[in-house]
């Protein structure tokens, strides 16, 4: 690493490690996850869900889903927290002028910030997972297998990429902004869009393409069986899901959830073993590629605009 980039990396990492914002997000993750796992645990006990096997191997899947659900909210916030003020705040406070008056290239400044953010994201995701998952497992007396652990370790990659893609988006917004408050607002708008609005838009698009669902007449099987939807209704919802999923392909949150779900999908509803890792990666690598592409595109745009931008008027 170039000496000047290393100086910036060191400063950025130390600055964030001293900040309440960084540790607050890790704390938020642990708190949400432990609370969610407690809720899942009590639901499992209360309803004695068949096959859940509290205390057995399958409860860990529920925990992983809970973790990925919390992560899909917190990882973007972590990326935003590290990115929104990266340049805008330096510009606002005037520190950028003292830095750029030094013999450093603008891309070195950005390199330092991106490397530092990557280090911090890896650290935050690993620490959050390492703190919360064993804590929940200990609370519920869950044991894990080596396969569970390897999949958990692999699930850190999409978590890191998700945080990085939001970091890159926030960095780009920060590069364009003069005020960190404004940059923060835009970043939150982007997060709300991908997390809450895009799923709604996807459903609305599917609904407008397919029209209203066919009228349902339940075919209740006798002898206490599961209610069966008529085939045309099942087909309608399959198509609806397909259209919505296609729209959501652009959402980093969706890509993250898809990959983690695939990691912990069982071979069949009755099977205990997961789908083997090789085929998960072979079928879902696009999710990782899209997440990485998000990060790469916005980082590239940040370089282009930051190098071109002039600091003082």
């Amino acid at each position: 690493m170039n000496g000047k980039v290393a100086v910036i990396v060191r400063k950025e990492v130390l600055e964030n490690l001293k900040s309440a914002r960084f540790w607050g997000l890790i704390g938020l993750f642990v708190l949400l996850f432990v609370a969610m796992s407690a809720a899942i645990g009590s639901a499992a006990r209360g309803f004695a869900i068949p096959g859940l096997g509290l205390g057995g191997g399958r409860f860990v899947v529920q925990l992983v889903y809970a973790m990925s659900s919390v992560m899909s909210y917190v990882a973007p916030l972590l990326g935003i927290a590290l990115g929104f003020s990266a340049i805008a705040s330096e510009r606002e406070k005037g520190t950028i002028r003292l830095v750029l008056a030094r013999p450093v290239y603008r891309d070195q400044v950005l390199n330092g910030k991106i490397i530092a953010a990557t280090i911090l994201i890896v650290l935050a995701v690993t620490v959050s997972t390492a703190l919360s998952l064993p804590l929940s497992m200990a609370l519920h007396g869950v044991t894990v297998t080596a396969d569970d652990l390897s999949r958990l370790a692999l699930s850190l990659i999409p978590s890191i990429l998700l945080a990085l893609s939001y970091y890159a988006l926030s960095l780009f917004i920060s590069v364009l902004s003069d005020r960190s408050s404004r940059a923060f607002l835009y970043c939150i708008v982007a997060w709300v869009f991908f997390t809450f609005i895009l799923p709604l838009i996807a459903s609305m698009i599917a609904l407008s393409v397919l029209g209203p669902p066919p009228a349902i007449s339940f075919n209740m099987t006798r002898g206490g069986g599961q209610p069966q939807l008529p085939p045309q209704v099942q087909e309608y919802y399959r198509k609806m899901n397909e259209i919505a999923s296609t729209v959501l392909l652009v959402s980093p949150n969706n890509r993250y959830s898809s990959f983690v779900s695939a990691l912990f999908t069982r071979r069949s509803p009755q099977a205990a073993a997961y789908v083997d890792l090789g085929s998960v990666i072979a079928t879902r690598w696009v999710d990782l590629a899209v997440l990485a592409a998000y990060a790469a595109v916005f980082i590239l745009l940040s370089y282009i605009f930051f190098v071109r931008r002039q600091e003082v008027r």
Binding site: E15, G94, L98, V99, L100, P103, E311, R313
Partner: protein, 315 residues
């Protein structure tokens, strides 16, 4: 041998484009700053001083024209310029959660100063600006004046050949201003070139030996104090002051006879003369018959020159 210029610009132009149209911040600016002088860049707010400085150190790109510092092109060799120039910009800021020492250490390492040397330099510059006792205090506890001293310290950190200060006395208390003037005077004596941009002439104007007056993005005049004063005299005339101990009325009558004299006045035995030409020799001759305590030419002050070059007498 010709004059060696440390800072040179040629037809330097900067045009900003925004939604409202174009704003010409610098209009064909030609500035020449000789080596080893204290050069004042004087102009009101918004006249283009900060834009000029920003281009010199690579914070902005010019729309047209060239700028060179120590022979290096400010666009193509900006990094070489920044290695050699210490800048105190306007509207700067420090990392508030870091101490004064930590801020200087971070900036010094970006300057590429080796660790051991940096430690020594930080100690030296903090002492120079009177912040040695505050080295390990977080900057968020600093007053504006202390921040300004620290900004001065960071500009001196790499021991640069050229120093550029943008509104350096803004926020300094009177003691700080005195410290600044003494420090800058010393730096120039050591052979450094210092460019000070300000609209507060009373703070630093009188220590400058050279200046450029900038108005609405154009340089309206530049040169040494003598050169600028000469042009002022050509337009406003020469002023003299004679302090006599007897018969001032008789002296006034004689002075009015001299060719070129525009105005003669008397105030407490002090005779003030304004003339369209240099009449010093004649004055010496005329006053021979009187008991004269002093006779001197009144050189225009920087404030008078500022008024003159910014529209008071030259349009």
């Amino acid at each position: 041998m010709g004059v060696e210029y440390v800072i040179e610009t040629e037809n330097l132009t900067k045009v900003y484009r925004d939604r409202t149209g174009e704003v010409v911040a610098l209009d064909n600016v030609d500035i020449k700053v000789p080596k080893g002088v204290l050069f004042g860049l004087f102009g009101p707010n918004g006249s283009g001083k900060t834009t000029l400085i920003s281009i010199l150190v690579g914070l902005q790109l010019p729309t047209r024209g060239t700028a060179r510092v120590l022979g290096f092109d400010c666009v193509k060799q900006s990094l070489e310029v920044r290695k050699r120039v210490g800048l105190l910009p306007e509207n700067y800021g420090f990392y508030e959660y870091m101490t004064a020492y930590e801020n200087l250490e971070f900036l010094g390492r970006l300057d590429g100063i080796p660790r051991e040397e940096l430690r020594r330099r930080i100690s030296e510059v903090l002492e120079l600006v009177g912040l040695k006792d505050w080295a390990h205090t977080k900057v968020k506890a600093f007053s504006r004046g202390m921040n300004q001293r620290l900004a001065l310290a960071q500009a001196l950190l790499k021991d640069p050949e050229v120093l550029i200060f943008d509104e350096p006395t803004l926020g300094l208390d009177p003691q700080g201003s005195v410290m600044f003037r003494e420090l800058v005077t010393r730096l120039v004596k050591e052979g450094r070139t210092v460019l000070i941009s300000t609209h507060l002439l009373h703070e630093v104007g009188f220590i400058c030996s050279h200046a450029a007056f900038i108005r609405k993005g154009r340089v309206v005049a530049q040169g040494s104090l003598e050169e600028l004063a000469e042009r002022y005299r050509e337009s406003r005339g020469y002023s003299y002051e004679v302090v006599v101990q007897e018969r001032p009325e008789d002296l006034i009558k004689e002075l009015r006879q001299l060719e070129g004299v525009i105005e003669v006045g008397l105030e407490n035995n002090v005779v003030k003369v304004r003339s369209s030409r240099d009449i010093m020799r004649e004055l010496i001759k005329v006053t021979e018959g009187y008991r004269v305590r002093s006779l001197r030419e009144l050189a225009p002050s920087w404030d008078e020159l500022y008024q003159f070059y910014h529209g008071g007498g030259r349009e």
